[in-house]
């Protein structure tokens, strides 16, 4: 909307457009979260609190998934937090770009998620990166929370979010976020290995563990790279517990 503050720089408009389109797509998916959360047994207040306070899609779905599926508090917080670890890594990557000081570190930290980071680091110049971060971050914060409320309120009226393919929309969103990372051989190998490890662990471990194990695949690849192009690592089902680091 407010895209015409600076007419001198056409690239600014492109960054804003990109940020807003990501924000809209991600926010729509907030309907799915709101509906699914209420369907999992959370109240509307709790559902909105999750989006306002937790504000990180993957972690939010993990939290309601584990608790809604009958898991304990510890398992739910662990699954949610392990998915949130990547936001720390995003902070690493963004700190020299955004240079937040004092109280500004609070909103900066809260807006640090997949999408705002992705849009920010895709830009060429420092001002464009900052712009991309804030347009995407604030856009999603507003949209995601509104759509969460809409989904929570309409959840029962709408019925099963599956009817509208919102679960498939979530799959597609994750794939679309993964896609730009698949230009080099190593992340492709890591992605395949992580997907494989997660898939084989699903039936044999508690909810939340497969994603954690998948993260360990990245740690293993990063720390022990000498192994060459390990594309199909360890086809046995032994869980990779604590043998790294």
């Amino acid at each position: 909307m407010a895209a015409r503050t600076d007419t001198a720089d056409p690239q600014r408009k492109a960054v804003i457009r990109q940020g807003l389109s990501v924000a809209i797509a991600t926010s729509l998916y907030g309907v799915s979260f709101g509906a699914l959360s209420v369907a999992s047994g959370f109240t509307i207040w709790q559902t909105c609190a999750i989006s306002l306070l937790l504000f990180s899609g993957g972690s939010q779905f993990a939290l309601i998934g584990v608790l809604g599926g009958g898991g304990g508090i510890g398992a739910a917080i662990a699954a949610s937090s392990l998915l949130g670890v990547r936001n720390t890594l995003y902070g690493f990557q963004l700190t020299t770009t955004l240079k937040p000081r004092g109280l500004m570190r609070i909103p900066t930290a809260q807006m640090t998620i997949d999408e705002s980071t992705a849009v920010a680091i895709a830009q060429e110049t420092l001002p464009h990166r900052r712009l991309g971060f804030w347009v995407t971050g604030l856009g999603i914060y507003a949209g995601w929370n509104i759509m969460t409320l809409v989904g929570a309120l309409a959840g029962n009226a709408i019925g099963d979010p599956k009817t509208y393919g919102l679960d498939a929309a979530a799959s597609a969103a994750f794939l679309a976020l993964l896609w730009p990372r698949l230009h080099r051989r190593e992340p492709v190998a890591v992605a395949i290995a992580a997907a494989f490890v997660a898939a084989i662990l699903v039936p044999v471990t508690p909810v939340g563990i497969p994603v954690i194990a998948a993260a360990l695949v990245a740690v293993a690849f990063g720390a022990f790279r000498r192994l060459g192009d390990g594309d199909s690592t360890a086809p046995d089902t032994t869980a990779p517990t604590g043998d790294t680091t």
């Binding site: 937790l54 998915l83 498939a168 929309a169 990063g222």
Partner: protein, 103 residues
């Protein structure tokens, strides 16, 4: 009450994790092993999320309309479709197949 404890706990940790990224000395980032893991972690996590979101229901591996939606999304991405188109195409595919009675 259980849910509220989990929500507050998870939110506090989530914020601490986000905030922590801005307090770590940049020198640490430059360590080769740390930066390699940093670079690879999103690919691993997102790939796992694709699997969890597409092929699982609770603790079961399942194959349903979501898989078709994912295939359509991949095709759209190959054709360089915008993010929004990719997501909507996947949703429409799964919704359409379910309308036809598939799981």
């Amino acid at each position: 009450m259980t849910f509220w404890i989990a929500i507050i706990g998870a939110s506090a940790i989530a914020f601490a994790l986000k905030f922590g990224g801005y307090t770590v000395p940049p020198a640490l980032l430059e360590k080769p092993r740390v930066s390699r893991v940093t670079t690879l972690l999103p690919a691993a996590l997102l790939a796992a999320l694709v699997v969890m979101q597409t092929f699982t229901t609770g603790s079961q591996l399942v194959l349903d309309s979501r898989a078709a939606g994912l295939l359509v999304a991949a095709a759209a991405l190959l054709l360089r479709a915008p993010f929004l188109v990719v997501v909507v195409a996947a949703a429409a595919t799964a919704a359409g197949l379910r309308l036809l009675g598939l799981p």
